[in-house]
């Protein structure tokens, strides 16, 4: 999409957010909800809308780990980093995922099909150790289950 077209689209997305009203998080969420990430051009548009400097918007967007600055993969595998998952073998699952996919945490496979995301505990600890496949809680899993899950996703 050409920049001017994207600018218009983002300006439309964030049109209701006001300066000095606690709206920056809302604006960034609106952009991420629409595109799946916060494109670079959005920083400029959001900054203009909220009367902030671009640096401030970029600073905030990079502070929060849930804002992505690059397009998401087709299927996002979030790994729960919580303590209950850790006790139940979460770190073994992480090793299994990274080896099986050949990527590290926070990276996507070269074909952009699968990506690994560092998830924060959402309190569904009865399913520990767990993964969220595109947001859907999957667990309890062993490292072997995780290997099988990833292989199925790779083949699908």
């Amino acid at each position: 999409m050409p920049d001017n077209e994207a600018t218009l689209e983002i300006a439309h997305l964030v049109r209701d957010f006001k300066p000095a009203d606690g709206d920056l998080m809302g604006a960034l969420h609106a952009v991420q909800h629409h595109y799946g990430y916060v494109p670079k051009i959005a920083m400029k548009v959001v900054a203009r809308q909220l009367r902030l400097s671009e640096a401030k918007v970029y600073g905030a967007a990079t502070f929060y780990s849930e804002f992505r600055l690059t397009p998401p993969p087709e299927t996002l595998i979030s790994w729960c980093s919580g303590p209950t998952c850790r006790l139940k073998g979460g770190d073994r699952i992480r090793q299994a995922l990274e080896t099986e996919l050949g990527i590290g945490m926070g990276q996507n496979t070269p074909d952009n099909k699968l990506g690994l995301h560092f998830g924060q505990c959402n309190g569904t600890c009865e399913h520990a150790a767990q993964l969220w496949v595109d947001g859907k809680v999957t667990g309890p899993l062993t490292a072997a289950d995780a290997v099988r899950l990833v292989r199925n996703l790779k083949d699908s």
Partner: protein, 627 residues
């Protein structure tokens, strides 16, 4: 706008239809935990069966019985009310047929009202007996998306009552109740409200801290997903008491369902004139909105949270000025967490006298806790302050699989790690924890058993606090980086003798961080040296992980050759051969021991270093590097 009396009558009629149904009514718990267990699929399956079997269907929030999700309650016209568990979608057909006709014995957990042969009363179960359901009064009872249900069960009456008192009387009731912030800080709520009321500048703001970042705790989620109006009513009461006119609920990104339900509740309140220019004709002007965080733990600190609402990086700042002097947009602001606001509503509902009859001298009332880890039953409970950890543990079925209770990790990664011998007799209220130099925290209780490794947990915690540091204070930023390195190398068997001294130095210096995140980061590490010395020393000096968890200290050895080994070879082709032991592998598994999950009988987990390896001589270069 309707008057409160009209809303009340409408609400009571709606609630009566639930309580005294004309035909069987199935109530499905829909919350983040149950959705993970497949409750949405259960609901859809029941929806298909409803017309032919002749029952009505309704959703509810979370009653805390996470261990038996998906949960369906069945209310009958004769008053019988039974709670069923483990109703997965594939079992709905047999379940619904049995439950409509009589009782579905296979799924029955307990009877809530009436009687059913062979099924115990729910509130006689060990799990339930110790509980007092005040904050959770509506949890798992009403439809969280129905304001009528909430009002029908007495909702918003507390606000009406409060608005008839003088603001000083109201604040005095809150002060007199001993209510203190339930997030873990335990600072007097009434005093905080007084600060805001006395602030000279206007407008004033309320903020609800719903950034429940402590991993392993989800009490606020239960309230927001099950009873969002209780929180909004608490905010309204606070608004009247302090003179605040606008509120923000700062909600963490990980709770999308709570976001949906809070927004639904706020919209319903605006429609009925409960939020707006003149709340229910009382003259109170107040409205609020939800702001979503984006995965920053440190925004749970009140000044970090305020920075985040102020369009900035969510970095805590130095106090003073305190939020009551200069908070959101530079205006006087009061920050309480979800449970605290809900507790104000509760206090007015049960009355100050009843409220003070429960709990301990210093801490009246109840506290919600979430239980996870090695315990038999995972879930959320509400108990009076002062209950012993061991009593609570007994009520939830003890430690699972007949293992030993080893340690308690309470209240998030900043609060501490206590051995069972000390934690077991501890009363659940802030003071006994403080006396040990740790915190009780916001309500998460994680139980460890003897198969868990505390050094491994420290690696996780160190990574967490390092990652979530806002990086303003050198002590926190660099101190936590060093802690990660120390625990990582200890877990690999490369710990150094001088590490202990370095850790002690870190403990002493990190307390000088500006906010509590930095100051409390080393708590669990300190507790580890204090209480789990033997285990730490085994890692450090013998390069041995007693629980055989730390991957760098164990090896996977093929010892059998059953058919399962072929399957293991498929999972881990790089180091397991289907034909049996390979002479040249070094026993490392690049997939975290997935092979052993598949063929536990054929692959043994053994210590990697069997003879004590002498510690490395400290090279001067090393000392210089880690300074």
């Amino acid at each position: 706008m309707p008057t409160f009396e009209e809303l009340r009558q409408q609400g009571q009629a709606a609630w009566a239809a639930v309580e005294k149904p004309e035909r069987p009514r199935f109530v499905v718990s829909i919350n983040t935990s149950s959705i993970a267990a497949g409750a949405r699929e259960t609901y859809a399956a029941l929806e298909k069966l409803a017309p032919s079997l002749g029952f009505d269907l309704m959703q509810t929030g979370d009653d805390g019985i996470t261990w038996a999700e998906p949960i369906v309650q069945v209310r009958k016209p004769d008053g019988q009310h039974v709670l069923y568990g483990n109703v997965t979608a594939d079992r709905t057909e047999a379940f619904a047929a049995a439950a409509v006709k009589g009782v579905a014995q296979d799924h029955a957990v307990g009877v809530i009202h009436g009687s059913a042969e062979g099924v115990p009363m729910l509130w006689d179960l060990d799990w339930a007996k110790m509980q007092v359901r005040w904050l959770m009064y509506n949890c798992g009872v009403i439809d969280p998306e129905s304001i009528d249900h909430y009002i029908g069960r007495g909702g918003y009456q507390q606000f009406i009552d409060a608005a008839q008192m003088s603001r000083d009387d109201l604040i005095n009731i809150v002060k007199g109740s001993t209510l203190r912030g339930h997030s873990g800080s335990f600072f007097s709520t009434g005093t905080k409200w007084q600060f805001l009321k006395d602030a000279a500048t206007e407008p004033k703001y309320l903020v609800c801290n719903a950034d429940e970042g402590d991993p392993g705790g989800w009490v606020n989620r239960v309230v927001m997903e099950s009873d969002p109006h209780m929180l909004i009513e608490g905010l309204l009461i606070g608004a009247y008491a302090t003179g605040a006119t606008w509120g923000w609920i700062y909600l963490r990104e990980e709770y999308p369902l709570a976001y949906e339900r809070l927004n639904n509740a706020i919209a319903a309140c605006r429609e009925r004139g409960i939020l707006g220019e003149d709340a229910l004709g009382t003259g109170v002007k107040f409205d609020c909105e939800v702001v979503r965080g984006a995965g920053a733990y440190v925004c749970g600190d009140e000044t970090g949270l305020i920075s985040s609402i102020n369009d900035e990086r969510g970095m805590p700042r130095i106090k003073p000025p305190f939020p009551a002097q200069s908070g959101v947009l530079g205006k006087p602001t009061n920050v309480n967490n979800v449970e605290t606001y809900a507790c104000v509503t509760t206090l007015l509902r049960v009355g100050a006298e009843t409220f003070s009859s429960v709990g301990t001298e210093a801490n009246r009332g109840t506290k919600m806790f979430t239980l996870s880890g090695a315990c038999e039953k995972t879930g959320c409970i509400e108990v009076p302050f002062g209950i012993k950890v061991n009593e609570l543990l007994a009520g939830i079925g003890g430690i699972a699989n007949g293992r030993q209770f080893k340690a308690l990790q309470q209240g998030g990664p900043l609060s501490g790690l206590l051995p069972a011998s000390i934690a077991g007799d501890l009363a659940l209220e802030p003071e006994p924890f403080r006396a040990l130099g740790v915190g009780m925290g916001g309500g998460g209780l994680i139980f460890l058993d003897d198969t868990h490794c505390v050094v491994d947990l420290n690696v996780m915690v160190a990574h967490f606090v390092e990652d979530e540091s806002c990086a303003r204070c050198t002590t926190c930023r660099i101190g936590n980086q060093r802690m990660v390195e120390i625990f990582e190398r200890t877990a690999r068997g490369e710990g150094r003798e001088e590490d202990e001294g370095r850790l002690t130095q870190l403990f002493a210096s990190m307390v000088f961080s500006n906010c509590l995140h930095g100051a409390l980061s080393p708590t669990i590490a300190r507790n580890t040296l204090q209480y789990f010395r033997e285990e730490y020393d085994a890692h450090l000096h013998e390069h041995r992980c007693p629980a055989k968890v730390c991957q760098g200290l164990i090896k996977y050895v093929v010892v059998g050759n059953s058919p399962a080994l072929a399957e293991a070879a498929k999972i881990c082709p790089d180091h397991i051969a289907a034909s049996g032991p390979q002479p040249d592998t070094d026993g490392r598994c690049s997939r975290g021991g997935a092979c052993c999950d598949v063929a536990p009988g054929d692959i043994a987990v053994e210590d990697r270093y069997t003879d004590i390896v002498p510690l490395r001589v400290i090279a001067p270069a090393d000392v210089a590097r880690s300074g």
